[in-house]
C-alpha cells in the first residue's frame, strides 16, 4: 500500500506562531483542530523539540479564527507534515531571537548556539550554556526583543498534465503492509479475523504511541469496510441509517493486532516525520480478502464480504467443482 501526504497538487498551507515565555515555557498557536487523533500533542512535541524543551513545556492553542493563524485543516493526513513543518520554521524564528540575545553573553556568534535540554548552549560545548528562561528574560527585558516567531509551509508540488496526468502531485508518500489471518466457516460464510500484523512507514514517528493508536483505529475502520458496513438504498432512500441495522465493528470484533513501525527518515518532514492518519485504514480490506481466498479458495470482488456473500461464493465454487468432476 502507498499513500500520499497532503492535497493533490493544490496548495494546502499551514501557518503557526510560537511564543516563548519568560519562565522557559512556550505557547503554540495553530489553526488546526483536534479531531481525536492526538495531533495537538504531536504538534506541541515538534515545537518543543525545536526549542529544546519538553512536551509538557509547550501549551497548544488551536481552533479559533479570532486567535489562531491560517491552516488548511485536519484533512489529507497533512497535519504532522505540513503544520509540523510550519511549526518548525516558526519555532526556529523564535529560537533565532534567543540565539541573538545569548550570543554576546556566551561570547560566541548566534550560529554557534543550539537549544537543548532547556538551555541555550554552545555547539559541542554544553558546559557553556544559559537556561532558556534566563535568555528569554534577557531578550525581552534588556534587549527588548520578545521571543516570538511566525511562519508558514506549503508542500511543493507540480501540476499534472491534463492529457497524461504526468506531474508531481505530492511531495511525499508513506508505505505499509498488513497481513491478516482469518478463519472462514464454510457452512455459514462467516469470517473471523484472528490476527492482523500491520507494519507502517510514517517517516520518523514524533510520538510512536499515538501512531500505534492511529494504526489500531484505522484497522477497525478497515475491518468494517471489509466485512460489515454497507449503506443500503431503496429508491434513493437509505434503509439502514442507524447503528442497529448498519453493522460496524465493536471491540468484540477486533482481532489480535501486532503493530510495527519501519525505521525511516524523510528529510522533507519535521524531524523526519511524514504522516499516519488515513493510510492506516487503507490496506486492511485487501489483506482480509486475500486471507479469505487463502482459507477457502474464493475471491470476493465486491465489498463487504458479508457471510451471505462469502457463502454464495463458496457454493458457486462447490457447484463448479462438481460440474467439472461430473462433466
Amino acid at each position: 500500500m502507498w499513500y500520499p501526504i497532503g492535497f493533490t497538487v493544490l496548495a494546502n498551507p499551514s501557518a503557526a506562531t510560537v511564543k516563548v515565555n519568560t519562565d522557559g515555557t512556550a505557547t503554540l498557536l495553530t489553526g488546526t483542530v483536534e479531531t481525536g487523533q492526538g495531533a495537538l500533542t504531536v504538534l506541541g512535541q515538534i515545537a518543543a523539540e525545536t526549542l529544546g524543551l519538553s512536551t509538557d513545556d509547550v501549551h497548544v492553542v488551536s481552533g479559533d479564527t479570532d486567535v489562531t493563524p491560517m491552516d488548511t485543516g485536519a484533512i489529507a493526513s497533512r497535519t504532522t507534515y505540513v503544520t509540523g513543518n510550519a511549526i518548525v520554521k516558526a519555532a526556529e524564528k523564535a529560537r533565532e531571537i534567543l540565539f541573538e540575545a545569548a550570543a554576546p553573553l556566551l561570547n560566541v556568534k548566534p550560529n554557534q548556539l543550539e537549544a537543548r535540554d532547556k538551555r541555550i548552549q554552545v555547539l559541542g560545548f554544553p558546559s557553556s550554556s544559559i537556561p532558556i528562561s534566563d535568555v528569554v528574560q534577557h531578550s525581552e527585558s534588556v534587549v527588548g526583543n520578545p521571543a516570538i516567531g511566525s511562519a508558514s509551509y506549503n508542500p511543493p508540488t507540480l501540476a499534472m498534465d491534463p492529457e497524461t496526468g504526468q506531474g508531481k502531485p505530492f511531495n511525499t508518500y508513506v508505505y505499509a503492509t498488513q497481513i491478516a489471518d482469518v478463519e472462514v466457516d464454510d457452512e455459514t460464510g462467516e469470517v473471523e479475523i484472528l490476527k492482523i500484523v500491520a507494519v507502517h512507514d510514517c517517516g520518523t514517528p514524533i510520538n510512536p504511541m499515538l501512531v500505534e493508536g492511529q494504526i489500531q483505529g484505522g484497522i477497525s475502520m478497515g475491518v468494517g469496510f471489509a466485512l460489515q458496513e454497507e449503506i443500503l438504498f431503496e429508491e434513493g432512500r437509505q434503509i439502514n441509517p442507524n447503528l442497529t441495522n448498519y453493522i460496524m465493528p465493536t471491540s468484540l470484533d477486533m482481532p489480535e493486532l501486532e503493530v510495527g513501525l519501519v525505521d525511516n527518515y524523510d528529510p522533507t518532514g519535521p524531524f523526519g516525520a511524514k504522516g499516519a492518519g488515513e493510510p492506516t485504514a487503507v490496506p486492511t480490506a485487501a489483506a482480509i480478502m486475500n486471507a479469505i481466498y487463502d482459507a477457502v479458495g474464493v475471491r470476493i470482488t465486491s465489498l463487504p464480504a458479508t457471510a451471505e456473500r462469502v457463502m454464495m461464493a463458496i457454493l458457486e465454487k462447490q457447484d463448479s467443482e462438481k460440474t467439472a468432476a461430473t462433466g
Partner: protein, 467 residues
C-alpha cells in the same frame, strides 16, 4: 394545544433558570460548577511529557485526561441562556422541483421563533471544488438528504413538531440511482448537461501494445460499497450574534480557516465579522471537512435574535452528511512468466451522489494510487465521477485509496496464485524502492515499501506459515 405549549414554555423557563443558576454571568458557558467530583489540579505528569528531547517520546495527551474525567466540552455540552434548538426538514423525494413551501403554520406555533428556507440564504451554495451544494435546497432537490426548510424553537421536541407543520409541494423529477445508468447520454440529468462532472487520465508508456505483448493477461472487476464515517459525535453547531452584528459560531468542523471563508460567502458578510471556534471534535474521518449547518444556524439565530444550536441525529449523520464513494473498478494487467508487471489498464467509475463535495480529491488520489506501489512502465487509468440521486459522497479517510487498494492488492494475489509465485515475492519483485518512478513519473524519495513487507512477514511468520 395551548395548554401543552404553555407547559413547554414553563419547562423551558425552568430549564433556563436552572442553567442561569449554574453559570454565573462571568462565565458564558455553563461549566458544571456544581459537579461534586474534585479533580487533583496539581497532577503529576507522565515522565515522557517531561523528557527532552521531545521528539520520539510516548508522551500522553493532555486532552485524554479531560476526556477521561468527562471535562471535555463537545458542542452538545455547551448551552447558553435563551438558546434555541434548530431542526431541519429533509426532502420527501430523491429528485424533484419544489413548487412551494409554506412555513406559516409552523411560525404560528408558540415557542417557534424562526423558520428558514433556501430562498432566504444570501448565497445558497457551497462546496470545496464546485459550489453545487445548496445550504437548503431550492428549487431542485437532488437527494433525500437535502434540507428544504429549518426551524428554531425553544426545545428540540417543539422544533420537530414544527417541521410537521411545514407544507412543501413537490413536482417529482425522474431520478437516477445507478452510476452506470447515470453515465449514459439519455439518463436523467442532475446538474447541467452531463452527469459526469469530473474525470481524470493517467497515461504512461503504451498500455495497449504492452498488454498485447504480455504472456499473461488478468482481468477482473471489483466494486465497493457506500460507507459512513460514523463519528461518535454527530455534526453540531451553535451560532450567536452580538450587538455589533458579529457572529460567533461553535462548530464540529475540522478546518476552520476555510470554513470561515465558506460561511462568509454564504452569509454575504465579511470574514472579520465571523468568529469560528472549532471545538474538540468527537471523530471526523473526513466527514467534517466542509461546512454543513453553520449558515442555517447563523441565519436562524439572526432571525430569532437568540443563540441557536443544531445537532444532527444519527439518521441525519447518515443521510445528510457525506459518505464514502462506491467505486466500480475494471483492472486489466499484463505480466510475464516471472510475475513482473508489464502493463496495467484501469477504469474507475465513482458514484458521486447528488453533489461534488470532495470528489476532486478522491478521483485524483484514487487515479494516481490505482496502479499500486509497483514499477509499471505502461499504465493507463481513466476515472469518471458521476452524479446520482443518492447521498453525497465526499472526503473519507483515504480519499479513494481503500477502494483501489482492495482492487490492486487482490489482483496481485490472483496473479501470484495463478503463476505459482509467493504473494510476498511478487510484491518484492515489483514493489517501489528509493528513486522508483510513480505512475505520474515522480521520482519517489523515502520509500520504505520493501522494509514494511519484510518486517510484516517476519512478524507474521510468513515463511514458516507458507512452508
Amino acid at each position: 394545544m395551548a395548554t401543552r405549549n404553555k407547559d413547554i414554555q414553563t419547562d423551558t423557563d425552568q430549564v433556563i433558570k436552572t442553567e442561569k443558576a449554574k453559570s454565573p454571568s462571568s462565565q458564558p458557558l455553563s461549566v458544571p460548577t456544581d459537579n461534586p467530583v474534585v479533580y487533583p489540579l496539581d497532577l503529576p505528569q507522565g515522565e515522557a511529557r517531561l523528557r527532552t528531547p521531545a521528539v520520539g517520546q510516548r508522551a500522553s495527551r493532555p486532552d485524554g485526561r479531560l476526556h477521561g474525567l468527562g471535562q471535555t466540552q463537545y458542542i452538545d455540552d455547551i448551552t447558553f441562556p435563551h438558546m434555541l434548538h434548530a431542526k431541519i426538514l429533509h426532502s420527501d423525494h430523491a429528485h424533484a422541483r419544489i413548487v412551494s413551501i409554506d412555513t406559516s403554520e409552523a411560525e404560528k406555533m408558540p415557542g417557534v421563533l424562526a423558520t428558514l428556507t433556501g430562498a432566504e440564504v444570501p448565497e445558497n451554495s457551497f462546496g470545496p471544488t464546485f459550489q453545487d451544494q445548496p445550504i437548503l435546497a431550492y428549487p431542485i432537490v437532488r437527494h433525500r438528504g437535502d434540507g428544504v426548510a429549518a426551524v428554531a424553537a425553544v426545545t428540540e421536541q417543539l422544533a420537530m413538531e414544527a417541521l410537521e407543520k411545514i407544507k412543501v409541494e413537490y413536482e417529482p423529477l425522474t431520478p437516477v440511482f445507478d452510476p452506470l445508468e447515470a453515465i449514459e447520454d439519455d439518463s436523467p440529468k442532475i446538474h447541467g448537461e452531463s452527469n459526469i462532472y469530473t474525470s481524470k487520465i493517467i497515461k504512461k508508456g503504451d498500455v495497449e501494445k504492452a498488454l498485447k505483448d504480455s504472456p499473461h493477461v488478468f482481468h477482473r472487476q471489483y466494486t465497493t460499497q457506500m460507507v459512513e464515517h460514523v463519528p461518535l459525535e454527530p455534526q453540531a453547531t451553535i451560532a450567536s450574534w452580538d450587538g455589533n452584528g458579529r457572529v460567533t459560531i461553535w462548530s464540529s468542523l475540522g478546518r476552520i480557516t476555510l470554513g470561515r471563508e465558506d460561511i462568509s460567502r454564504t452569509l454575504a458578510i465579511p470574514q472579520s465579522r465571523i468568529r469560528l471556534i472549532g471545538t474538540i471534535v468527537g471523530g471526523n474521518f473526513g466527514g467534517k471537512n466542509e461546512i454543513r449547518n453553520e449558515p442555517i444556524v447563523a441565519l436562524l439565530s439572526k432571525k430569532s435574535r437568540r443563540p441557536v444550536k443544531c445537532v444532527f441525529t444519527r439518521d441525519e449523520e447518515f443521510t445528510s452528511s457525506t459518505i464514502r464513494h462506491p467505486f466500480i473498478m475494471d483492472y486489466t494487467t499484463g505480466v510475464n512468466d516471472e510475475g513482473l508487471i508489464l502493463a496495467r489498464k484501469i477504469r474507475l467509475v465513482l458514484d458521486g451522489g447528488a453533489y461534488c463535495s470532495w470528489t476532486g480529491t478522491t478521483i485524483g488520489k484514487g487515479s494516481i494510487l490505482a496502479p499500486g506501489p509497483y514499477n509499471i512502465e505502461n499504465v493507463f487509468v481513466e476515472a469518471y465521477a458521476v452524479y446520482t440521486n443518492k447521498t453525497t459522497t465526499g472526503a473519507m479517510r483515504g480519499f479513494g485509496a481503500p477502494q483501489v487498494c482492495f482492487a490492486y492488492e487482490s489482483q496481485m494475489d490472483e496473479i501470484a496464485n495463478k503463476l505459482g509465485i509467493d504473494p510476498l515475492e511478487i510484491r518484492l519483485k515489483n514493489g517501489f524502492s528509493e528513486n522508483s518512478l510513480s505512475p505520474t513519473s515522480q521520482t519517489l524519495q523515502s520509500v520504505a515499501l520493501k522494509e514494511s513487507l519484510n518486517q510484516a512477514s517476519d512478524r507474521f511468520g510468513w515463511k514458516e506459515w507458507k512452508a
